[in-house]
């Protein structure tokens, strides 16, 4: 795990995230959001969790970002009345960041370097999903079904 790669990915990811949080045009913000998620996936690759990185790219950029774009297109009439950044929120976010950073810097047990590990194969993940994590997997399946049915019911046109 090289330091230079981590720094470059971090700068690109945080810049894209900041753009997503502050840009005025919704479509530009959504594209920056997708770029920030590419940065998160790059971190997952850096942590040798390639499978999760790919899942993140597929689910977030392939599904969630496209869903957001569709919602923007469906609610198009109402763009451009955002009044920009509200300074109270910005102050609170900076305060939370300061508190978190202080807490992280004061914690001694997190100043460790990554151990050497065997690569985590997809086979192992599949085995774990089918043995120790089979109930959570089923629950997530049920939750996804319920959420998607709920989303369909919410957007269905009411019959008059």
């Amino acid at each position: 795990m090289s330091s230079a790669a981590a720094v470059i990915i971090a700068i690109l990811m945080l810049a894209a995230a900041l753009a997503a949080a502050t840009l005025q045009k919704l479509m530009h913000a959504t594209l920056s959001f997708a770029a920030a998620l590419v940065g998160v996936a790059a971190f997952f690759f850096l942590f040798s969790a390639e499978f999760v990185g790919l899942v993140l790219v597929f689910v977030y950029i392939g599904a969630v970002a496209v869903l957001i774009v569709f919602t923007i297109l469906l609610t198009r009439r109402d763009v451009g009345n955002d009044r920009g950044v509200n300074w109270g929120g910005a102050f609170l976010a900076v305060a939370v960041f300061g508190g978190l950073t202080l807490a992280i810097l004061k914690t001694q047990s997190v100043t460790i370097v990554a151990p050497h590990i065997r690569t985590l194969t997809v086979k192992r993940i599949g085995e774990a999903l089918m043995t120790s994590y089979v109930w959570p997997l089923l629950c997530v399946g049920l939750l996804l079904t319920a959420a998607l049915i709920g989303a369909l019911v919410l957007v269905m046109e009411e019959k008059r």
């Binding site: 330091s3 981590a6 971090a10 990811m13 997503a20 949080a21 913000a29 959504t30 959001f33 920030a36 998620l37 998160v40 971190f43 942590f47 969790a49 499978f51 999760v52 899942v55 689910v59 977030y60 599904a63 969630v64 869903l67 957001i68 569709f70 919602t71 609610t75 009439r77 109402d78 009345n81 950044v85 509200n86 109270g88 929120g89 910005a90 609170l92 976010a93 900076v94 939370v96 960041f97 992280i104 810097l105 914690t107 997190v110 100043t111 460790i112 370097v113 151990p115 590990i117 993940i125 994590y133 959570p136 997530v140 939750l143 996804l144 959420a147 998607l148 989303a151 369909l152 919410l154």
Partner: protein, 104 residues
């Protein structure tokens, strides 16, 4: 110099706070959803970082939690965007400042 866990925790705290900034300072419902998704991604980054830096990372617990949390984030985004569309149909706006019918 190899980066320590501390570096990645601070990076993910920064991503979380940018998400918080988007949630607190924007008035458009879709921006608020984008902020929530960024906060969830920061939490996932933390899970994976703690898993990678733990002394015995072989039971892939952090990876599993990240996978489940990504699935739940997808469900949340679907329901959230459906709510945005439903609210838009009803009020003809997605500005959360205008949704004040229940305000006393």
């Amino acid at each position: 110099m190899t980066p320590t866990l501390q570096t990645f925790l601070i990076i993910s705290a920064a991503l979380f706070c940018i998400g918080l900034l988007a949630v607190l300072s924007r008035r458009h419902a879709i921006f608020i959803l984008i902020g929530i998704e960024m906060m969830l991604a920061a939490a996932n980054l933390n899970f994976i970082a703690f898993w990678r830096f733990s002394p015995q990372p072989m039971p892939p617990t952090g990876v599993m939690i990240a996978i489940f949390s990504i699935a739940i984030a997808a469900a949340e985004a679907a329901v959230g965007l459906a709510l945005v569309i439903a609210v838009y149909r009803h009020y003809r706006t997605t500005n959360v400042d205008h949704l004040d019918q229940l305000k006393g």
